[in-house]
Amino acid sequence: MPITDHQEQKPVKLRARNLDFSYGDKKVLDGISMDIFAEQATAIIGPSGCGKSTFLKCFNRIHEVSSEVRVAGDLEIDGVDIFRGGIHEVELRRRVGMVFQKPNPFPKSIYENVVFGPKLFGVRDRDILDGIAEESLRKAALWDEVKDRLKESAMSMSGGQQQRLCIARALAVNPEVLLMDEPCSALDPIATAKIEELIFELKKEFTVLMVTHNMQQAARVSDYTAFFWLGRLIEMGPTERIFTNPRDRMTEDYISGRFG
C-alpha cells in the first residue's frame, strides 16, 4: 500500500512502519505505515473506535502510563526509534507536545499553567519565564484576552480559552510536533473557528498531527488526510485529493457520509 501518493518537499518528521498495537489482548492498530511531514498539518479521520487516538498517543507514549500496552513494528521521530529505547519518554514528550480532547488546564493561575513546562526544565529566571509566557500566549492567540488577568485561576476561563491555554502550555516547552486529539470536540463553533485558525498558523512552525471527527475541519486545516478504519490505514494523501478524488471505495463512502 502506498504510504502517500504525493511528492512532498518537506522532510519526514514522524514515521510509522507496520505498527501493531494492543491494549492487553485487544488489538487496536493493525500494520499502520505512514509518513508525517515536518511543518505540515496531517489530519486523521475515521469512525470512532477505529484507533485514531491510540495512534496519536503512540508518538508521546502517554497511554502507557495507565494501560497495559503491546507494540510491534517501528515508530520513529527524525529517524530515531521511539519504542525501543532510542529516546527517553520524558525527552520524547518534551519534543512532542499534546493537546487533549477535553481542555485539561491545571488548577493553577493562567501564568503558572503556561510556565509549567519551562519550570520543569529548570528555568527560574523571572524575566525569561515572563517572556516565554507572553510569546506562548500570543502564539495561541490568547494574549490579548488574558494579559491583564494572568494571576487568575485557569479554571475561571471559558472552555475555548482553556483549550487555547492548553495549546499555549504545550508551545511553551518549544516542541517540534504538536499532537491534537479532537481539540475542538468540546467547544462551540466560535471557539472552534479560533482553534482552527490557530492550527493554520501553527503548522508553519510545527509538525501538527491531529485527530478530528469533523471532515470539514480536516478539509479546512490539514495538508494531508489519513483515513482509518478498524485499526487500519485505508488511505492517505493530500487533503484536497482525498476529498475530491478518493481512490478507495471505503474512503469515498466515509467522506460522502454513507457510514460512520
Partner: protein
C-alpha cells in the same frame, strides 16, 4: 399494581366489564390492601418523624445542658455551691489546684494542642504519602487491600489502642531510651494518637486523589514531567483542599480522644511546673517524657470525683463545652474546605 392503576378508567367501560371474576376479586383485594398500605405509610411516617424528633431533641438537650453547666462556672447561678470564677482565671492561668481554689486550665489546653500537633506532625505527611503511593504508584490490588485495612483500623475501639500503648509501647520506650525511667507523656500519647488517626487520613486522602481527573496527570506527563514531578507539582496541589480536609478531620479525632490518651499520658495536671523543674534532662526529652494531661484526660479523671454545682465540677463542664466548640469549629472548617475543593 397494574390492576390498581387500571381500576378507575375501566369502571364504566362496557367492553372491559367482562373481566373474569378471579381478576375482579384480585383487583378488589388490592383496593383493600391499598387502604391498609396507606395507613401503614402514615404510621411509618409518624414513627420516623418521632425518631427524628427524639434525636434532634436529645442533641439540642445535650447542647443546652452542656452550655448551661459550662457557663455555670462564670455565672452566679442558683445551683452553684462555690464561688463564681472569672474567664481570665480559668482560661489564662496554668495553675490547677481545685483544693486550694485554683482553676486554671491553660495547661490542659496546651496539653491537648501538644499531643494533637505531635501526632499530626507524623500522621499528616505519612498518611498523605501513603495515599499517594497506593493510589498513584502501586498496582490496583494494593489499593483495594489498603482500603480494607484502613476501614478495619478505623473501626478498632480506642481502648484497644490504649491497652497496646500501656502494655507494649510504654515499657518499650522506657527500656530502650529512658534507662527504665517512666515513659508516660506526650510522646507515647502522640504515638498512639498517630496510629489512631493515620487510617482516617489515608482513607480520605485516597478519596482525594481518586477524585482527580486522569487527564490532569496525563497533561503533566505530556509536558515532559517525570512521575514524581507530576505528583508534586500538579496532583498534590490539585488535591490539596481535600487533603487539608483529611488532616483536619484527623485532628478532630485526635483532640477528642480521651481513653487511649489517658492510658499512656501519665495524668499529671501540674506537668508544666514538673517540666520546668526537671532541669537535669534536655528540654525536648523533658517535653516528650514528662507525665502530663489534656482537656479530655482531665475530664475523664476528675469528673466522677466532683460534686455537682461546685466550682470544680463547673470548670470541668466548661472544659467539655470548649472541646465541643473546638470539634464543632473543625467540622465547620472542613465543610468550608470541602466546598472550596469542589469548585
Amino acid at each position: 399494581m397494574l390492576m390498581l392503576k387500571a381500576m378507575p378508567s375501566t369502571a364504566g367501560d362496557p367492553a372491559r366489564d367482562a373481566v373474569p371474576a378471579t381478576k375482579m376479586r384480585l383487583s378488589i383485594h388490592s383496593e383493600g390492601s391499598r387502604g391498609l398500605r396507606f395507613l401503614l405509610d402514615r404510621g411509618a411516617h409518624s414513627v420516623f418523624l418521632a425518631c427524628a424528633l427524639v434525636v434532634v431533641a436529645l442533641i439540642v438537650g445535650i447542647l443546652v445542658f452542656l452550655s448551661l453547666r459550662g457557663f455555670a462556672a462564670f455565672l452566679p447561678l442558683a445551683g452553684n455551691t462555690g464561688r463564681t470564677l472569672s474567664f481570665a482565671e480559668v482560661f489564662l492561668s496554668t495553675e490547677w489546684a481545685p483544693s486550694s481554689d485554683k482553676f486554671g486550665i491553660l495547661s490542659f489546653m496546651a496539653g491537648s494542642l501538644s499531643v494533637t500537633m505531635l501526632a499530626l506532625l507524623v500522621a499528616a505527611p505519612s498518611g498523605i504519602l501513603t495515599a499517594v503511593f497506593v493510589t498513584l504508584l502501586a498496582p490496583g490490588w494494593m489499593k483495594t487491600l489498603m482500603r480494607q485495612v484502613m476501614d478495619l483500623l478505623v473501626g478498632i475501639p480506642s481502648v484497644v489502642y490504649g491497652i497496646f500503648g500501656l502494655t507494649f509501647l510504654l515499657p518499650l520506650i522506657s527500656a530502650k531510651w529512658l534507662k527504665d525511667s517512666p515513659a508516660a507523656g506526650f510522646f507515647a500519647a502522640a504515638c498512639i494518637l498517630m496510629v489512631m488517626i493515620v487510617p482516617t487520613i489515608v482513607s480520605l486522602s485516597m478519596d482525594a486523589f481518586e477524585a482527580l481527573p486522569r487527564t490532569l496527570d496525563e497533561g503533566a506527563l505530556a509536558l515532559g514531567s517525570t512521575r514524581w514531578q507530576s505528583i508534586w507539582r500538579v496532583l498534590i496541589p490539585a488535591a490539596s483542599p481535600r487533603l487539608l480536609t483529611a488532616v483536619v478531620l484527623g485532628m478532630g479525632r485526635a483532640i477528642g480522644e480521651a481513653m487511649a490518651v489517658q492510658m499512656v499520658i501519665g495524668n499529671n495536671p501540674a506537668w508544666l511546673s514538673l517540666m520546668r523543674e526537671a532541669t537535669d534532662r534536655a528540654p525536648l526529652i523533658r517535653f516528650l517524657f514528662t507525665p502530663a494531661a489534656t482537656l479530655t484526660t482531665e475530664l475523664v479523671q476528675e469528673l466522677p470525683n466532683t460534686a455537682a454545682g461546685s466550682a470544680w465540677n463547673n470548670v470541668l463542664f466548661a472544659m467539655g463545652l470548649l472541646l465541643f466548640l473546638m470539634t464543632m469549629g473543625i467540622i465547620l472548617a472542613t465543610r468550608r474546605l470541602g466546598q472550596r475543593g469542589a469548585v
